[in-house]
Each structure stands twice: as C-alpha cells, then as structure tokens.
C-alpha cells in the first residue's frame, strides 16, 4: 500500500526486536471477543487512478456554482480566490504541521497567526482577536457563553435578523450551559424590537449586520441601549467583504464581534471548513475562547511569537477553561491572511464596492420583474425579495434551467411563515449576463410559460 513504508521483511525484523512472535501479540489487551479475525466488510485498497475516478464521478454529480448563473449567499459567499493563496497554503511546511506547540520550529505558522489576529482586529475594529474559531456560527455561540460568563447574567437576546443557523447553534450551546436565549421573530429590520427586549438579566444582545435578509444597520443605538442595561453587545457579520465598506463592529460599540471569514481566501466547500473571526475589547481578553498568538523574544533577544495566555484553555484549565476548542481553523486562517495581504485595505474596499455595484444591478433587474417585491431597505451584496408564490418551488424550477436563483428563506426558518421570501446575492463573480439570465428566467417563471 503506497502510504505504508514497511515491507514484510521490516515487520518481521521489528517484531523480533520487540520480542513478539506475531502482530497479534501486540493486541493482547483487546478482549478476545472483540478481536476481528478478518478485515471488515468494505472494499479492498484501491489505486490512485481508481479513487480519483470514483470521487470525480461524484463531484460531477454536483452543479458547481461557477458553471452558470448563481445567486446564493445567506452565510456563504462565492468570491474569487487568487491562485497564489491556494498554492501557498499547500506548502508542506504550512499544510502538514501541527498546532505550533514548539515555537522555535513553528515561527512560520506563529507569525502568520499574529498577522491574522492583527488583520481581524483591524477589520472588526476591536483591539483583541483570537487565532480563529471553527466558523462564524460556532464563534457566535461561544460569544454568547463568553458574555454570560463576563456579566454573570444568563439571558441572551437574539435579533430576528440573525442567521437562523447561528441562532439555533447559539441556542443549542446556551441551553446546555444554562443560558436562556430570547430569539426575536424573523424581521427584515428589528432595531426597536431588539432594544425593547433588553432586560436586567440580559447578558448580551446579538445583532447581525448585514443581517440574513441583507439589511445593513448601524447598531450604535442598540449597543448604547445594551450598555445602558449592563449587557454586552455582540455584532455578527457573515459577509466579511462588507467590512471593506461598512462601519466596523467596534466603531458601532460592539464588545464582541464575530464574523464568518470564508469570503476571504476560502472556497464555498459545501459549508466547511470555514474560519470564524472572533474579536473583543481589551477588558474581555482573558474570557476569550480559543488560541492566542503573542509576541515575545528568544534567548538572544530576537523577536518571536508563541501561543500565549493558555491558562484560559482546556489543556491547562480543563473543566474551568473558557472553551473546549482545541483544533481550530488554522489553515483557513492562513488562507484568509494571505488573501487579505494581497488585497490590503485598498483592495478590500474596491472589492466591496464592486460587490455592492453588481448587487444594485441585480436589485434593479429583479425589481423590474412583475410580481417581485424587494424587501431589504439598506443592502450590501445580498437582499430579500418577495415572490407571488412559493420561493422554493421557483428555485427548483430555475435550477432545472441551470440557474441557481438563491436561498428560499423558509429553508433556514420553516416556521417563520415567509415561504414566499427569496434571499439573493451578487458578488464580483456575478456577470451582467448572469443577472440578465436570472431576471429573464424569473419573469418567464412568474409571468410567462409554466415552469417545466
């Protein structure tokens, strides 16, 4: 087998050194009843060519986003990632190294983590950022627990504009930890409702902007209300590219900011792996979950980087740790950092502007389709439209015409009674042709021939 270097001769010689007669002698601690006499019932080993054929065939059964008009957003975004990024993260020294526990021979990883933390802190407008979470949704859940630890309160107000998957993930974790989530009903725009929901036991208020309906909000008033009530403000962003243009969470008074970093440097990957960006105020540093990379010096005074403040972490603090996270999203964070280093503030801003421009054209084109109502008041690169019929059915019909029309809101939140709402998104990868094709097909579907 190509991945196994030992030859039969090696094995025999090694058993002799060990003083064992057969390999079975090394498994004697296994209860006899549990020893499998022969391989399990699965196919035998296969050559690279065969494996490649089998999995390529499965890949071919999916409609890759890039092969035609495509308008899905809602938490995952299709952006162009420079070839350089994917090349660099595949360097053996980055790809096949472990968590940098031995800093003297892990400065490559550690310095890039330090660059990552700096970039994230700058983007989110807060002083401290960690070395990544699994993704935005788990980061959001951890933020809620962190807030309740810090405030010693057990209530969490979740905006109705928060991505339903995020709300559910936060709820799942909160319940177990004894934190009570108060999730407001789905709303395009719910500043007032959120403020109204803040109470004396509110540990945190969780608001997303741009929210799941694409609505952009300056959450400053909410943050002020939260702070006035002694609660922490958690701002969530699923589209990091928006931060190239919009006010950062820090600017708007966030105590904790959580974002999904997939848009920068990472592919859609059918949902994972992604990379959670997590930042907070100086004051909350020691409550932060996950790893932190810090600057120090070596024995000769040269600058170097190490993992630090690990007294917060599971391997030191065990059941008192701020989180149980161990493996995180290191390589996705590296991709994020490399892509961000290419973009720079200038490039990110331009990228954001182009995303916004293409989305305005999409809005214009769809608004012109009879029967379509645009619901989102202030948008960045995605928005919600109301259709005269069930959105899921329309999406299915257009998919048969090779147009991926977006995400029916009901798929994320079936009980909201918003079956006629469709979430659409445009990025720098969306062409005028894509938009025209979408609008035409939608028009045909709603007003023209019956969808096949």
């Amino acid at each position: 087998m190509r991945y196994l270097p030992l030859t039969p001769d090696d094995r025999a010689a090694m058993l002799a050194v060990i003083g064992a007669a057969t390999i079975d002698d090394l498994f004697i601690d296994v209860p006899a009843s549990a020893r499998l006499a022969k391989p399990v019932d699965l196919p035998p080993h296969a050559g690279e060519l065969e494996v490649e054929r089998a999995l390529s065939a499965l890949a071919a059964k999916n409609r890759a986003a890039g092969t035609g008009p495509f308008f899905c957003g809602a938490g995952a975004y299709r952006h162009h990632v420079p070839a350089t990024v994917d090349h660099l993260i595949q360097r053996s020294e980055f790809l096949t190294s472990y968590t940098p526990y031995q800093p003297e021979i892990a400065q490559g990883t550690l310095q890039t983590l330090f660059e990552f933390q700096t970039q994230v802190a700058e983007l989110l407008g807060l002083p401290v950022a960690n070395a990544s979470m699994y993704d935005g949704s788990t980061g959001c859940a951890e933020a809620v627990l962190m807030a309740s630890r810090a405030t010693k309160r057990s209530g969490a107000v979740l905006s109705g504009g928060l991505h339903p998957h995020y709300a559910e993930a936060a709820h799942t974790l909160a319940v177990a930890a004894g934190v009570e989530t108060h999730r407001l009903s789905a709303a395009i725009d719910d500043e007032a409702a959120v403020i109204a929901a803040i109470g004396p036991d509110t540990a945190c208020v969780v608001v997303q902007t741009p929210n799941v309906f694409g609505t952009v909000t300056d959450v400053t008033p909410i943050a002020q209300a939260a702070h006035a009530a002694g609660a922490l403000m958690i701002v969530v962003t699923t589209e990091t590219v928006s931060l190239g243009l919009l006010k950062s969470p820090g600017e708007m008074g966030a105590d904790i900011a959580v974002a999904e970093g997939q848009s920068i440097g990472n592919g859609l990957n059918f949902g994972g792996p992604y990379v959670g960006l997590f930042a907070c105020t100086e004051k909350l540093t020691r409550q932060i979950p996950g790893r932190l990379c810090g600057q120090t010096v070596d024995a000769e005074g040269r600058r170097g980087f190490v993992l630090t403040l690990s007294t917060r972490e599971q391997h030191i603090r065990r059941d008192k740790a701020t989180s149980n996270i161990c493996t995180n999203s290191g390589l996705c964070a590296l991709a994020f950092t490399i892509h961000m280093s290419l973009l720079g503030g200038t490039g990110l801003r331009t990228l954001a502007q182009i995303n916004h421009a293409r989305t305005l054209s999409l809005k214009k084109a769809l608004a012109a389709v009879p029967g379509v109502e645009v619901l989102t008041p202030r948008l960045f690169n995605e928005f919600a439209i109301r259709l005269p019929t069930d959105a899921a059915a329309v999406v299915e019909a257009l998919a048969r015409k090779d147009i991926i029309a977006g995400v029916p809101y009901a798929r994320l939140d079936p009980d909201a009674g918003l079956d006629d709402v469709l979430l659409v998104c445009a990025t720098e990868t969306t062409t005028a042709g894509d938009i025209a094709a979408f609008a035409a097909a939608l028009d045909a579907n709603l007003n023209g021939e019956i969808a096949a």
């Binding site: 490649e52 031995q102 021979i105 892990a106 810090g294 980087f305 149980n324």
Partner: protein
C-alpha cells in the same frame, strides 16, 4: 525598523557564534511582518475599473480608515514562502507528537477536495444540485459505521472537541427524554483536556476516576463513583497512556448498569481501526478525528472534523441536519422535525466539514478494509519498536506488556541529571526532529509521549531512535548545557513564554512598533 538595513535581517548575535564571524544566514533569513513592508496604499489584486456608487449607504460606511497593507503578488509569495521555511512539518521528518497522530497527508486527497464539484459548491444550493456531495457524506457515513460497528453517525462536528460536545448533548437529550436530569460526568485524570472542558460546557460537573498502577481505569473506583446522578463515563480508548483498556467491556457494563452512557474518546482510533470495532465494546458514542485517523492535514492547527458514531439508543437525538434517502435521491432534514424530531438541534451552520469528508473518504478508499487494518498494525508495530529500542535508556511509564500506537516514558531516567523533559525535547530539534508530546498525560511525571504513526519507514524510525539514544548518552555524560541551551540550530533560540503571558502583545500596532 532597523531590520531592513542590511539584506534581510542578519543576526550579529548568532553569527558572532560562528567562525569566522560574518553576518548572514544563507537561505534562511529573518522576515518582517507584513505590516512592516509598506504597501499601505497598494493592492496585489486587479479589479475591473467599473463605476460604483455607494451613495445609498450614506451614514453606514466606515469612518475610520482600514489600516491593512496590501502587497503585490511577488512580495506576498516571497513573504509567505520565507515564513514557511521556519516551520517543521510531517513532510520534513518524523513528527512524534503523542496523541496527535501526525501521519502522511496524501496530495491526492488535496487534489480531489479541490474539484469544482466539491470546493465550489454552496451549502444551500437546491438539494437536486448537490446529490454528489450528499453521496460522499453517505459513503463516508457507511465506512465510519462499518469500521466502528455502530448503527449511526453524526457527521457535522467540526473537530474532536466538537464531537465530544455532540456526544454529551445527545446523552443529555436521551436522559432528559425520560425526565432524568443527571448532573455528573466521570473521566479519568489521564483524559485529554477537552474531555473535562466539554463536559463542563455541556453543563455537567466533572469527577475524576482513578487510574491503576498499570495505567488503566480503576474499576473499583469507577464502580464507587457511578451513581444515579452520573450521566456519562468518558474514557479514551486506546487511552492517553497509549494503552488499550483491557476492562473496557466491563466498564461499559458497569456504566450501563448505573443508567449512564459510555462516551469513548476515539482520538486514538488509529491504533485499532480495522481490528477492533468500538461497537463490540459497548460504546454509546465516540468521536473520530478525521484529521488524525483519516489523515486530513493538520494545517498548523486545523481545520479538522469530528464525526460521532452513536448507538441505537442515542441515534434519535443526533444533531441536525440529518442525511436521509428520499425518493428523489438523498435529502437533508435540516430542522428537528419528522424523523429528526428528537434531535437536540443544530451545532453549527450548514452540513459540517465537507472539505474534510472528501479527503478522509479518499484516504479510506485508498487503503480499503485491508489497508486500514494494516494501518492499525503498523502504527502499533512502530510504537512498540520505538519503545523496545528506547527502553534500555529511557524509563517507560508502563514497561510491562505492549503499548498501542504510542509509547509513554516518564522522566525518572533524567532525575538528577539537571536536564528536564523540556530540555531534552528542545535538544531533539537540533537533530532535526520535532519533540514528542511533553507533560501529558498528567498522570505520569515529566511525561514524554511518542507516537510515530504507521507512515514512518523503519529507516526513519532507526534514525529517530539513534538520535534519542545519542542524546541520552550525552545526558548521562553530564553534557547538560547541550540541553538547557537548546535549541541551537533552530530559526530562533528558546522563546520566552513567560514574558509573552505577562505582557500580552496580541497584535501589531504602528504605535507599539514605533
């Protein structure tokens, strides 16, 4: 920044230790942070010049400038290639981090995970357009269930710790379903930190189980601590001492007898895959680190994936989404309704780590049933070979009997030498090897946990053992300074971790740098 004065930074201090004393590091040079390379106004990405108008976002746009440098592509490539060379990696030499299973990462898996049909697929596309992806998940699930002998698997957890949480939340849901709100989880002292941390996160109080002289769970102590308030017993098997729990079936029996569930930490599944099915041991839930046993790359810290296999009793409580066979092909149940009514809910957005599923499946298919069994055998063989070769000099924590995939030593043999486990480990760096896991598990003094994995050749194992023996001889010879001063040949000398924690500098800032 004086760093940029002559060439890329040279190192007078160190080069001073070279004869003749000339500055320079040849191929290995220092590298500044991107924030120190200028580029505040540049970008390394070209965009079409197109009219953009953000008037409609008045009042919502950034007021503070984004202080992020952008570098041209050549500068960016050079920066990260230079940095990469400061890392050790499995592709450079044996990486004996016990409990981490640092094995070969096939490039085939990387290639396949990047097929447009996988990497360029949106998690919320219409189900009819992602049947191939769901088929990958279904096939992976089948392999995992077959290899573990368990009836169900929850694929979505994003890493081992997340899998532990998944398992405990299922257990919690199962108890609550019958109105039984238990509050305690038992775990051995030798458990990995994530076990107690996860139990606490899941709202449980953690109590420790004692360990026997021979490194196994103390059955008597377990029995004593089991009770009506115990929700689960968390045991790692093979355990973190690198030993298989011989009484594992009895542990399961006692646990079940007490109305609790048996959570097995499967991080070390690599040692038994294809030879033992946890399902045959009475396990109720076990996570599998795809980034360990099934070789998805560690990537300097992640990402990983931690699917959890579940017993029939726990299966109904598995997290959403559920992958089911609909009449139109594969389908997803994304909310706790219908068949998934009992689900404890969603742990994260979307469907989990697809990129890792493809890699792990490619790895499994490449090995096949026969190859995976061989994986376990070679992993255990390599560990015992290392243990046998080193036992003469180092002191194995559990000398009697074979170990599984890793060999555990304590620091008895270093006593009085003035050399600590840490010093010894740092000296290994000078010889070109990554240190073993140190000071874990906690039950052994000055623990050194060596896991070679099955992808090491006998030649590399011998080079490794010869190195350790040569170093050990130096310890005996009283050549202390060689260890206390190590590493001497790494890109940096030993780093001051205390300073880092005392005065945390967690980001670059113009002010601090000035």
């Amino acid at each position: 920044m004086t760093m940029l004065n002559v060439g890329r930074q040279t190192r007078p201090e160190e080069s001073a230790s070279l004869t003749p004393a000339y500055p320079g590091r040849g191929l290995l040079q220092d590298e500044p942070l991107i924030f120190e390379l200028g580029g505040w106004t540049k970008t390394g990405v070209d965009f079409p010049d197109e009219a953009t108008d953000t008037a409609d976002l008045a009042g919502l746009t950034r007021t503070l400038p984004l202080r992020l440098p952008g570098l041209s592509e050549p500068e960016t490539v050079r920066h990260y290639v230079r940095l990469s060379q400061k890392n050790h990696a499995i592709d450079l030499a044996l990486y004996p981090l016990g409990s981490c299973t640092m094995k070969h990462n096939p490039r085939l898996d990387e290639k396949l995970a990047r097929l447009p049909g996988f990497i360029d697929l949106h998690p919320l596309q219409p189900i009819s357009t992602v049947q191939g992806a769901l088929s990958v998940m279904d096939t992976l699930a089948h392999w995992l269930k077959t290899l573990t002998g368990m009836p169900a698997v929850a694929l979505t957890p994003k890493a081992g710790a997340h899998g532990e949480l998944c398992g405990l939340l299922a257990i919690r849901a199962a108890h609550l379903a019958r109105g039984d709100a238990r509050r305690v989880v038992l775990a051995p002292t030798s458990a990995h930190g994530t076990n107690p941390a996860t139990a606490a996160l899941a709202g449980y109080e953690v109590r420790e189980i004692a360990q026997t002289e021979s490194g196994h769970v103390d059955l008597a102590d377990l029995e004593a601590k089991l009770g009506p308030d115990v929700a689960a017993v968390m045991v790692t098997n093979p355990n973190t001492c690198g030993l298989f729990e011989p009484d594992v079936i009895e542990i399961a029996r006692l646990t079940h007898a007490a109305g609790a569930y048996f959570y097995c930490d499967g991080a070390n599944f690599n040692a038994i895959v294809g030879r033992v099915r946890p399902g045959d041991l009475g396990v109720d839930a076990m996570h599998i680190n795809l980034h360990k046993t099934f070789s998805t790359p560690h990537g300097g810290g992640g990402p990983g994936a931690g699917p959890v296999v579940l017993s029939a009793e726990l299966a109904p409580y598995a997290p959403t989404p559920w992958l089911v066979h609909g009449d139109g092909g594969f389908d997803l149940i994304e909310e706790p309704v219908g068949a998934a009514e009992g689900s404890f809910g969603r742990m994260s957005a979307f469907q989990g780590q697809m990129g890792m599923y493809v890699r792990a499946l490619a790895y499994m298919m490449s090995h096949g049933a026969d190859g995976l069994r061989q994986v376990a055998e070679d992993a255990v063989l390599n560990a015992n070979y290392v243990k046998a070769r080193l036992s003469g000099v180092m002191t194995p924590a559990f000398p009697d009997g074979p170990c599984m995939h890793e060999a555990l030593f304590d620091d008895t043999w270093l006593e009085g030498s003035g050399v600590t486990t840490l010093d010894f480990a740092k000296a290994m760096i000078d010889a070109g090897f990554h240190p073993m896991t140190m000071y874990f598990p906690l039950v052994v003094h000055g623990a050194m946990l060596i896991e070679p994995t099955e992808t090491e050749s006998r030649g590399e194992l011998d080079r490794f053992c010869d190195t350790i023996l040569e170093l050990a001889a130096a310890v005996k010879a009283g050549d202390t300074e060689r260890f206390t001063g190590a590493p001497f040949h790494a890109p940096l000398k030993r780093l001051d971790e205390t300073l880092a924690a005392r005065k945390p500098r967690l980001r670059w800032s113009a002010e601090a740098a000035a």
